[in-house]
Subunit: 185 residues, 4 copies
């Protein structure tokens, strides 16, 4: 497989100056030359309502599902709200997991996240890992990327500055690529 | 304390014929005479965006927060999507947890849920319990209410018919009342 | 209730120079004058075997169960091995939870733990909290005590030196006392 | 790879008439012709004590570690005690995870379990999955094997009789084999 791997990245935070969205932007720049990360916007998913789905996927959701269907793997970037992932990211996952032909089920996943404090989204990431069992997604085990004290890691324009964080994000993407190639065989 | 305890109930499912919303309606009928359960609609919360919050709580959210502020306890009724609670319910919690003066922090909580299959929302409820640690909410331990094979428990009008489910929901509400009174002292 | 509250403390680590056992010793010294913490040794529990139990509790286990029966609350101090509590502590809990008349079920619990690294036993403590649901033990929500980089917090004789850790352990014990008194009513 | 895959199986229950040990015996019989399952006895691990380890692995533990080192994957069969895996199984994992050269780290894992009631070890298995992240073990996502109401599934000699359980255990082993072969590439 010499063509580029296509990954879809989703940030679970909607605010403009989100550290998590900034972390996703950093990942795009740090991606190996063999990987392309395309982002989709969690804001484009309405609150999940199964009646809505049965009436036909909303146009924006349908477009995102098509983008995801073309991807070989996923990168979920999560804040930690109330010791779990954000409702915003969970809501996106709820839309992406549904039939017919979920565009995420069975595909490799990497997770990472940033917090202002010391937790680094450790608890939120474990909830994502539990979801991945349902979705039959193999998840990158190592490295785990917990960006602690995020305010110190980015500059004023929210560019990732911390070298050790850059390094571990790069390693996460390399692990994701290996996982994708392993499952492509 | 002889006055009625006021509980706010939230269903994490939005579809019209939701078993979880039906379970919440059943709880309202089964509540002891000393308890009043008022429901709020998770649909009234937009996707959580901290910029939005900083610009001032949206009117519908503000109204719900006032309703919750007047409550002494909470009843979260959760479906299980992807081995976790719904994004819809998590999103509501994200709005309710924020400053100033979160109307949920520190108040007693009961959780229950229904699934068509055998899991009964066991996994979703554990995620809610983890959130409750952050929110400093004491949670009813016993009984746990896992409504399995929900399609068999309700009639065609979604009225709860199963007697053992009615009994355990009643016990859950009694436990919640005891917890509220314990924390009121 | 003016008499002293009796708490049983258990460390989940057996090595002589365990930071967790040292943390438990520190708690004994920091306990409020209204609280007495007695320790039991997790080493005294054989590997749990239900046949053994049915043949009659081993003498050492029986003695510990009696000590626990006289307690009003518990303090579990856990290391984090493999992202969970230690098998040693889990094994102790397995013995303490069994009939007849489990001496822990229904009684308040506080948890804390120490790690050399940055996790501070966050993941192990969540497993303990999940166990507490089964055991119907109300668990102190706040503060959470995660002793990170433990090697820097203790002196050479494993006396706790870090003032902020002393403070938060004291707060944990105060919370435990409040919880015990709340449930004694 | 045409040679047989070697899997080490461990039951987390020690009692003679354990449903979980019986389930492991059933797996040995149901294993595909390309797989050999060897069992090790969790009773052979003393309570984990790091001082003991530093003094040199006890002989029985050392022998088991050598058996595990020759394996390409693992099958953990867990009871659910207090909403988690047994202390006995956790203790075995604690010994197997330690340096030098842990014989389990990085190798594929399948989990299953049996309970007398309706939970089927759902909660215990999630704790094992969390441990597997630390151990960098890829875990079989599907099928999940929750043997509920175990007393009805086995005959008086503890031979597995239930056909649908036999089928899903077979599928689990096939998934484990695929995972092992995927990671062998």
């Amino acid at each position: 497989m010499t063509e580029k791997i296509k990954i879809v990245g989703i940030s679970g935070s909607l605010r403009k100056r989100s550290f998590n969205t900034a972390l996703l932007r950093a990942a795009i720049e740090l991606a190996p030359p063999t990987m392309e990360i395309e982002t989709v916007d969690a804001r484009d998913f309405p609150l999940y309502d199964d009646d809505l789905r049965e009436a036909g996927y909303p146009q924006a959701v349908d477009a995102i599902r098509k983008t995801c269907a073309a991807a070989q793997g996923f990168l979920f970037v999560t804040p930690e709200y109330n010791f779990s992932t954000s409702g915003v990211l969970k809501n996106a996952i709820d839309w992406l997991s549904r039939p017919p032909a979920s565009p995420v089920i069975g595909k490799p996943l990497a997770v990472m996240g940033a917090t202002p404090g010391m937790g680094g989204t450790m608890r939120a990431q474990f909830h994502l890992r539990q979801m991945a069992v349902f979705l039959d997604m193999p998840v990158v085990n190592k490295p785990e990327v917990f960006v602690r004290q995020a305010a110190d890691m980015f500059d004023r324009d929210l560019k990732l500055q911390d070298e050790s964080t850059k390094k571990i994000v790069t390693q996460l993407l390399e692990s994701l690529e290996r996982l994708v190639r392993r499952y492509a065989k």
